[in-house]
Amino acid sequence: MTAEPVTPGGVAAGPAGPAAVTDENLRQRLGEFRALLVISLLMTESVSEDQILDLAASSAPGLGPWRIDGYSLTDGQWRPGTGRPYSPPSGLAGRLAALGGGGGKVELSGRAWAWAFPLRGTGGPLGHLVASSDREPSAEERFGIQVIAQQTGVAVSNARLHARERASAAELAAANAALAETVANLRRTMDIHDRLTRVAVSGEGQPGIARALHELTGMPVAIEDRYGNLSAWAGPGQPDPYPKESFAKREHLLRRLMREGKPAREGERLTALASPRSDVIGVLALIDPGRSAGSADLVALEHAATVLSMELARLRGIADTELRLRRDLVHDLLSGTDDESALIRAEALDYDLRRPHQAVLVEGKGRARAYDALLHAVRRALRQARQTGLCETWSGQVAVVTAGQADWDQVCRLVVSDLGGQCHIGVGGPCARPSELPRSLHEAALALRLQKTLLHGSGVCEYPKLGIFRMLAGISDLTDVNAFVREWLGHLIDYDARRKAELVHTLTQYLEHGGNYDATAAELSVHKSTLKYRLQRIRELTGLELNDPDVHFNLQLATRAWGTLQALYDKP
């Protein structure tokens, strides 16, 4: 380095004399290089590009009569030096582009000297540092600027490298955090899955599902059927009595849950639908008045709803199977089956068929003719009458296989009360063995037809109580019975057939009502004078005196035999 007899300010040395000034200048130059070293250290330790550029620019006045006007960076950005105008000097960009990665003189308005020093980093050129002075700087001063430019380039390069590393580290940390969160969520989901799967396979049923969900979420849990009735509860605070919302509100909730296909908040409750098929619905509810349920609780609720769906499907499957087995058993019993098979199948359905049973037929008129409705009404009536039995539809009627004595009049009244219209019930005789049930069914059918033929309105006809009818029905060869009927009623039967009249029926009712005109007319729904006319016609056609006790007895026996034959031949 050449020691110049000129200070950075360009003024000659002071009063200590030329030799002393030279020594002081030298010391000053060496001191400045120490200062440059410190500036370099400070720039190198800095991780902020702005800090580095500011430090370099603000150092310049301490190093000589020059300044840093700014930095032109390779990304096209102009970074002004401390206290410099923000805009780059006009025409500078083109000149710097021409210089490429090297340095050289540039023109700055009002400056005697201006120079662009290249900023180089470890990865290549970073741009230029543009310095200027009011006079041509000395060689030492230019060297100082060059050192500042070089150190600035290295420091900026390091800072960018650090920034990239920090960004990479931050990205890595963020990725790790996201991964950790995902793993935690997965672990939580697996815990939920494990817990609820254990419930699903353990057969703990709906109480087990409610308990597991309560343990997973810490919140009270309710499971309800489609009507809002409580099926299971887990956790504290179970309401007693359990509140039940209106039908309309319940339907609204169910429609909303079906439409949205995900849990929905309903006041203090977070509800989810469990519906394995359209006719099977359950509702799972987290009681969450504080609205604190998080995403993990939601996952647990949805998973529990799936397990509940499986449970409901299983229960419905069992019910359907049992129903089908019962229906098949009833059909086989009434059609005829061997005792051993029937007893085993009944036992499988937990039904005791070893007791004496009887077949019963129920027929409805009016609204009661709807078969399904009649079947359900009969089931309900039997339950209310505390009568067990197997029920199934049977040729437009409802067949019941039942044991023990029942108040069939009460059952009849309950069915009419339930469905309106009319109800006829025919009760067969008792059977010691299941294989006899077809006979009991035949008797029930006969009783039902007699009830409809001879009696009117709703009512019950029990075969064992039929008396003469039962005796007549039991005769295997009906030739004599037919001849007896023809002997006493032949003229009337033929007349009815020719004239579409009802003289046999009129005579039957007259005799069944003990010759009472008013009761008979009322039963036949005709005027008394019409009844008297018909009876006169009967007397004329038969030539018989109805008041004769012997005639009266034979006619009554003939009409009952006629009714029995009608029932046997199924001709009402």
Binding site: T7, G9, V11, A12, A13, G14, P15, A16, E24, R27, Q28, L30, G31, E32, R34, A35, L37, V38, I39, L41, L42, E45, Q51, D54, L55, A56, A57, S58, S59, A60, P61, G62, L63, T82
Partner: protein
């Protein structure tokens, strides 16, 4: 005392008479330097005199060094002052007043029985808009006269977030030792007070 004394900062030792300028960034950097430096002095039984820029900093330094007290000599071992009563006493900065402050402080401590002194100054006060603050560098140069004639080490603290590169350059020029990032940079070419005064006049 002729041997070195521990600075309390990054295993660095100092010779008596050392006038060290330390650069740092932010309050945490200052606290680390001051607590280490004063803590070592207190532990060694030195008289510590310190000027910090605010009451809050004074309390923090007091708290950080509380457990480091040495045997003591009847008076307070650590004196912490604010610029209002030291650098800027009377509303302006004068080099002579401040040099007197340090000298009298050491003399008083010597009477109390202390044989070694540890001085520290947070220089942020020089950024205030007060008369005389432009004489900061001259003061730093003159302080070299005091340190060369007393059993003392001096630490001047400059926050790089607040001071410009020009101040850094001039401070380095006037300090025989500069502490940067745990590195003690020797400057055998620092300007002695007379040299600095001549340099400043030209």
């Amino acid at each position: 005392m002729t041997g070195t004394v521990p600075s309390g900062i990054d295993e660095i030792s100092l010779l008596p008479g050392s006038h060290v300028c330390a650069f740092y960034r932010g309050d945490a950097g200052r606290d680390r330097l001051l607590s280490g430096y004063l803590g070592a002095g207190l532990a060694a039984g030195d008289k510590c005199i310190c000027v910090v820029d605010s009451e809050l900093t004074a309390k923090r330094i007091q708290s950080l060094t509380r457990s480091c007290g040495g045997p003591g000599h009847g008076g307070r071992q650590l004196d912490i002052h604010l610029p209002e009563s030291t650098y800027l006493a009377g509303g302006e900065f004068t080099t002579s007043h401040m040099l007197t402050f340090w000298t009298e402080g050491m003399m008083k401590a010597e009477l109390e029985g202390y044989s070694f002194f540890r001085l520290a100054g947070e220089m942020t006060w020089a950024l205030r808009d007060a008369p005389g603050v432009e004489n900061l560098i001259g003061y730093e140069s003159e302080l070299n006269r005091v340190t060369s004639s007393h059993p003392v080490v001096v630490l001047c603290l400059y926050d790089l977030d607040l001071f410009s590169g020009e101040v850094v350059i001039n401070v380095v020029k006037t300090h025989p030792q500069v502490l940067v990032q745990g590195v003690l940079v020797e400057n055998p070419y620092y300007l002695a007070p007379d040299e600095f005064l001549r340099s400043a006049r030209v």
